[in-house]
């Protein structure tokens, strides 16, 4: 469990429990992220990683415990443009939505443009800059349906980055994209974290790549969450190369993972 609340806490979860009906997902978990942390969350399928992100976004209510975003209870939090979220399955409307990359990125500038107001040239330029940051400047005018999976993922990342968020919540951002795109995404995230001080919490299965980039790794398994140190991760990686198997906290326990 995290200790006392610190002013530098960007994100803080205390005694968090959640269940779908009678099916418990996790119980009494807690962690906190300080400004500038780059954390990964690993765990096998169904361990509750995406559920954790939905709780952090206030979409689900925990059975017990609470969440603070920038020191404010998530239920009353309203500065959402400070939080960038990249969903595991991309867009809810599907990949063939009839809009250009620029239109999609500009849409996320809603709070800057204002209710019932129209985007101006400056907003469109800002969208193009965000696309350029993810290497998609040349595709600004292309329709989403004509882009590859990796290019679409970059557009969605640009949409998140256009608001210059202080906290990024990423749900398996490298799912279904090629190795080259994975490498460039991780390089971009590392740069954002290092140069802009963006705090990042990323759910991932790619433990090898995560180990190179992140400063902290949490493992969510069997209803509990533990933080791993680098030695444990390296041990897990070597074990994984020899015996590919789902992750489990039991294998980390002997390394002395802290909760």
């Amino acid at each position: 469990m995290p200790g006392a609340v610190r002013p530098s806490d960007v994100l803080r979860a205390d005694n968090l429990s959640f269940q779908y009906g009678d099916e418990p997902v996790f119980s009494q978990i807690g962690f906190s992220l300080s400004a500038g942390d780059f954390a990964g969350v690993i765990g096998s399928n169904g361990s509750g990683k995406s559920t954790l992100l939905r709780l952090l976004l206030g979409e689900l209510s925990p059975a017990t415990g609470g969440i603070l975003l920038f020191g404010r209870d998530v239920r009353r939090f309203d500065a959402w443009p400070r939080v960038g979220y990249l969903a595991q399955n991309g867009l809810s409307s599907g990949a063939n939505f009839p809009a250009t990359a620029e239109e999609i990125v500009t849409a996320n500038l809603f709070s800057e443009i204002g209710f019932l107001r129209f985007p101006r040239r400056a907003h469109r330029e800002k969208a193009r800059e965000a696309l350029a940051r993810v290497g998609m400047a040349a595709c600004a005018g292309r329709m989403l349906g004509t882009l590859s999976g990796g290019q679409r993922q970059r557009v969605l990342l640009a949409r998140v980055l256009v608001n210059e968020p202080d906290l990024l919540l990423l749900d398996e951002p490298t799912n279904g994209v090629d190795a080259e795109t994975v490498a460039s995404l991780f390089a971009l995230l590392s740069r954002l974290n290092r140069e802009k001080g963006v705090t990042i919490l990323m759910v991932t299965h790619d433990i090898a790549r995560a180990e190179e980039s992140v400063s902290r790794i949490f493992c969510l398994e069997d209803g509990s969450m533990i933080e791993l140190d680098k030695a444990q991760i390296r041990k897990e990686l070597s074990h994984k190369h020899k015996h590919p198997a789902p992750l489990g906290p039991g294998r980390f326990a002997e390394g002395g993972g802290k909760s």
């Binding site: 809009a99 849409a107 443009i113």
Partner: protein
């Protein structure tokens, strides 16, 4: 006939504005459910001696809000909410139509009677059209983002609930006035077909919206001309023109793709 053109043009502009959002939210059948429900309102209006369009509007709004309410409760099977309301609307219209004395008046709402609308209906269509168009233009980016990704829209600060509510009312009002003119059985096609055509050709969301309106206007004008000179039902003619145009676009696109592939093989 001049009045028919004026009403047809107004509807040709607003129906695709609603239609594109309905299609993009994967609720293409919503127009069907509302237009069928509107028939229950028409029957109720005729029985109670009030204007059938007013009756249709009231029932449409109730039906649209019910669809949204059910959709929220069963989000994984949201299309089921449409089927439930469609069934309820058809059932109610069927039962109430048995009590309507002037069956010909009721039947005119099935396929519309754009050439025989009254002064009051003309004014109503004009007022509603301007209101819907103004709301669509003002809420343009909000509707776009909610249709694209409701969760991201909420995180970006879009008042998703309010936008959905307003859109539901706009849809209901549009369907109820369109049912009198193009017909309850055809209004849903008018929402979907021009959008489907525009989606085949549009190179951006903006172009797709403009294309949907352009297609709807073209179908309406051509359909009215054809129906006048060939003595056909206007509503049905307009929709059939749209479907033929959609099939032709698909065919031309397929042929163009084959030509490009053949040219590529020839070049290599």
């Amino acid at each position: 006939m001049r009045r028919a053109f004026a009403v047809g043009l107004l509807l040709a502009v607003i129906i695709p504005c609603i239609g594109i959002i309905v299609v993009l939210k994967r609720l293409s059948m919503m127009g069907d459910a509302l237009s069928h429900s509107s028939l229950a309102g028409v029957a109720a209006g005729l029985i109670l001696g009030i204007n059938p369009i007013v009756g249709a509007g009231a029932v449409c709004i109730a039906a649209a809000l019910s669809i949204e309410a059910i959709r929220k409760r069963i989000p994984k099977y949201s299309e089921m909410s449409i089927a439930i309301i469609l069934s309820a609307g058809v059932g109610l219209a069927g039962v109430l139509s048995g009590f309507v004395k002037n069956a010909a008046n009721f039947n005119s709402f099935l396929f519309g009677s754009i050439v025989a609308i009254s002064d009051f209906e003309m004014i109503l269509v004009a007022c509603v059209s301007f209101a819907v168009l103004a709301a669509f233009v003002l809420l343009h980016k909000e509707l776009f983002y909610v249709a694209l990704d409701e969760r991201a829209a909420r995180l970006a600060g879009v008042p998703v609930r309010s936008v959905n509510f307003v859109f539901t009312i706009l849809t209901a009002v549009t369907v109820s006035i369109a049912s009198r003119t193009v017909g309850a059985l055809i209004v849903s096609s008018m929402m979907v077909v021009p959008t489907a055509c525009a989606m085949q050709l549009g190179k951006s969301y903006r172009q797709t919206v403009a294309g949907s309106i352009a297609f709807a206007v073209a179908f309406t004008l051509l359909g009215l001309f054809l129906s006048y000179y060939a003595r056909l039902k206007p509503g049905g003619t307009i929709v059939l023109l749209g479907v033929v145009c959609f099939l032709m676009i698909l065919l031309v696109k397929k042929l163009a793709a084959l030509c490009v592939a053949a040219a590529g093989r020839g070049g290599s």
